[in-house]
């Protein structure tokens, strides 16, 4: 997930350019000089400027100072890098949240949340002895909190909450 400054700076400049052009095409309010296009165009232009500066490496010095400062205050064994595949594992939580958005209406809250908890717990290295009971109990408790305390009905789906 670590990208070079050229990539992120380039992306920001592109986004800024897109915002500038899209923003400048917005229809004006009749009879007024400034309308809805002023702000996005301004932000877009500034983003282009920032993106270019980042590509050129301006300000990198400050980051190095801050990183060294933080490293000197943390236990060294905690900072040792983990294998690269772990950084791809980071995509799992947002994927599971998207899964919730797609499946919760059809499957219902309890099964959806159960699948999410089980998958995430195993990814964090939990033994099945911990992950399975957690996946069964945690969704139940969360449902209870939202239904009874906050009075938010969560989707019932295949397995509606029993009371």
């Amino acid at each position: 997930m670590l990208l070079s400054d050229r990539v992120t700076g380039g992306a920001i400049a592109t986004l800024g350019a897109a915002a500038f052009f899209y923003g400048s095409k917005l229809p004006p309010v009749p009879g007024q000089q400034v309308g809805p296009s002023a702000f996005p165009s301004l932000i877009g232009a500034l983003l282009v400027l920032c993106g270019v500066l980042i590509v050129l490496g301006v300000g990198r010095h400050f980051e190095e100072v801050a990183e060294a400062d933080l490293a000197s205050h943390t236990a060294p064994e905690y900072l040792e890098p983990l294998p690269a595949w772990r950084s791809w594992l980071a995509l799992l939580p947002p994927a599971l949240v998207m899964f919730y958005a797609l499946a919760s209406e059809k499957l219902g809250f309890l099964p959806t949340a159960g699948i999410m908890v089980l998958t995430a717990a195993l990814a964090f290295g939990a033994k099945p002895k911990l992950a399975v009971p957690l996946a069964l109990i945690a969704p139940f408790v969360i449902n209870l909190i939202f239904l009874k305390l906050l009075r938010v009905p969560l989707p019932g789906g295949l397995l509606p909450f029993p009371w």
């Binding site: 996005p40 920032c50 980051e63 933080l70 911990l130 939202f146 906050l150």
Partner: protein, 500 residues
């Protein structure tokens, strides 16, 4: 006097008391878990506050954040892993004290001086806010614009990263608020034909994504912290009074620095702790002892980060400009509860204001007994397996956003997308706090800019010609140019020895 009695009535309602107590325990537990920050604790609370009365909602945020900032010191002391970024500055000293067998003194300092600092911060809020409110009543859109810009610039200034990247992150936040039809012309902007985007991006799902889901993602890429050994701790508060008398100057300086940094828009508890620790070392008679388990820096920085917490509410309540990331969330809740920030809050809702002060004081007082219990139980709670805590937090992110978004699944998508954005930004040195401040303040910045320009017929002269406005403008540009100045000084400093 009448409003004061009303305020007590508001605070001592059963619902509010339960909310304070429950959120105190919640804040202590979440803050003590390494990798879960005070901001995350607050962000996850928002969906719950949605269903509480206004005072109870604010009470949960005030109490939980104060507790979480303190209990972030616990894993720092016992494991050398700060529970929250605000504890990072003095983790070395606290851990060194533990290794010398003075764990209870170190934890006692964190607890005692956190509570004292919190109370000092509250007093500053009580004194400063009404005075500034009077002043702020005379502000027009020009001043509001510069004030908001100054807040955004301060946020980029303190980001502990490249200032350019911080500004880019802040601009990205402002751009996000352009989405939707809530703009001067009422035309759909950046909606790409989607009806969900017409209403714009809600602040709360964005916050939950950036502060909570992104943390879960990051935890997956980091190793599990080691377990705390079960150790017998002596009396926690023993000797604290002696330390209070021994280091009065350090404590006072920590409180004052914390208060000032808290009032500065965008700079929060972590910054306060770093600055105070550095300052303590600079003025100490025995700077060589710092980092080896010396209580001095611990006292100053521990007081400072809790003092900043309360004073961070000054700009938040007065102008809707967050003092730090926690008040950025609080502002969202204030709007949600109809307590729109602004100087009139102090005249029209005076009893609510007094109620906030009482809650702050109360929270810092109950911190001491609850904190002692927490320290005693720390070896059990901090040892809770990460593989059980993180999945539950992830589900909470999804359900909480769903519930606050009016049972709308679009909010859940927002959480996922903002989690990704936050994670990628953080990994590449773009401070997410700056983006969040942009998101929180964007609509206000645009409104004050466009209204001002319409009033002046497109001329930018009034932005600089009005007296208060010109001062604020000068401060904003100074904040913008400050990094250039720092860089030049550092350059000269490194060149001079080389030349000589």
């Amino acid at each position: 006097m009448n409003t004061m009695i009303q305020a007590f009535g508001l605070v001592f309602a059963p619902e509010v008391m339960i909310a304070i107590f429950a959120s105190a325990i919640y804040g202590l537990v979440v803050g003590s878990l390494p990798g879960l920050s005070a901001t995350m604790a607050t962000a996850l609370l928002v969906p719950i506050t949605f269903y509480l009365s206004p005072i109870a909602a604010i009470a949960t945020i005030i109490t939980a954040s104060a507790m979480a900032i303190f209990s972030g010191d616990i894993p720092g002391c016992l494991l050398r892993i700060p529970g929250t970024p605000a504890s990072a500055a003095y983790t070395d000293d606290a851990y060194a004290m533990t290794r010398k067998g003075e764990a209870e003194t170190a934890l006692g300092i964190c607890l005692w001086f956190s509570a004292l600092g919190g109370i000092a911060g509250t007093l500053s809020l009580m004194v400063l806010a009404p005075v500034l409110a009077e002043f702020a009543l005379s502000f027009s859109t020009y001043e509001n614009f510069w004030l908001a810009m100054l807040g955004l610039m301060c946020a980029t200034l303190v980001a502990r990263s490249s200032p350019i990247k911080a500004i880019a992150a802040m601009l990205l936040g402002l751009l996000i608020t352009c989405i939707g039809i809530d703009n001067p012309g009422g035309v759909p902007r950046f909606t790409f034909g989607s009806t969900d985007l017409l209403g714009g991006i809600e602040v709360i799902p964005a916050l939950v994504g950036v502060f909570a889901l992104a943390e879960v993602m990051r935890a997956l890429t980091e190793r599990e912290p080691p377990k705390i050994q079960n150790r017998r701790l002596g009396s926690i508060l023993k000797g604290q009074w002696a330390l209070t008398k021994k280091y009065p100057k350090q404590q006072a300086r920590g409180n004052v620095v914390g208060i000032i940094i808290g009032v500065l828009p965008g700079a929060g508890a972590d910054m306060a702790a770093w600055v105070s620790y550095a300052m303590s070392k600079r003025f100490s008679k025995t700077p060589e002892k710092f980092g080896t388990g010396h209580p001095e820096g611990l006292i100053e920085a521990g007081a400072s980060n809790n003092a900043s917490l309360a004073s961070g509410w000054v700009p938040a309540l007065l102008f809707g400009i967050p003092g730090d990331t926690i008040t950025a969330i609080a502002i969202g809740v204030l709007y949600m509860k109809g307590l729109n920030p602004g100087p009139t809050l102090f005249t029209e809702q005076a009893s609510s204001m007094y109620a906030f002060y009482i809650i702050f004081i109360l929270g810092n007082i109950i911190m001491i007994p609850l904190g002692i219990i927490m320290i005693r139980l720390a070896s059990r709670i901090v040892g809770a397996p990460r593989s059980a805590v993180m999945p539950v937090i992830m589900v909470f992110c999804a359900v909480g956003a769903f519930a606050t978004g009016g049972n709308n699944l679009f909010a859940v998508w927002c959480v996922a997308v903002f989690g990704l954005i936050g994670f990628v930004m953080e990994k590449n040195g773009y401070p997410v706090a700056a983006m969040v401040l942009g998101v929180v303040m964007g609509t206000m910045v645009e409104q004050s800019l466009v209204t001002s320009l319409i009033k002046s017929d497109g001329s930018i002269l009034p932005f600089f010609s009005r007296p208060v406005s010109s001062v604020l403008a000068a401060m904003t540009f100074a904040a913008l140019l400050w990094p250039v100045f720092v860089w030049t000084v550092r350059k000269l400093m490194t060149q001079r020895p080389a030349a000589a």
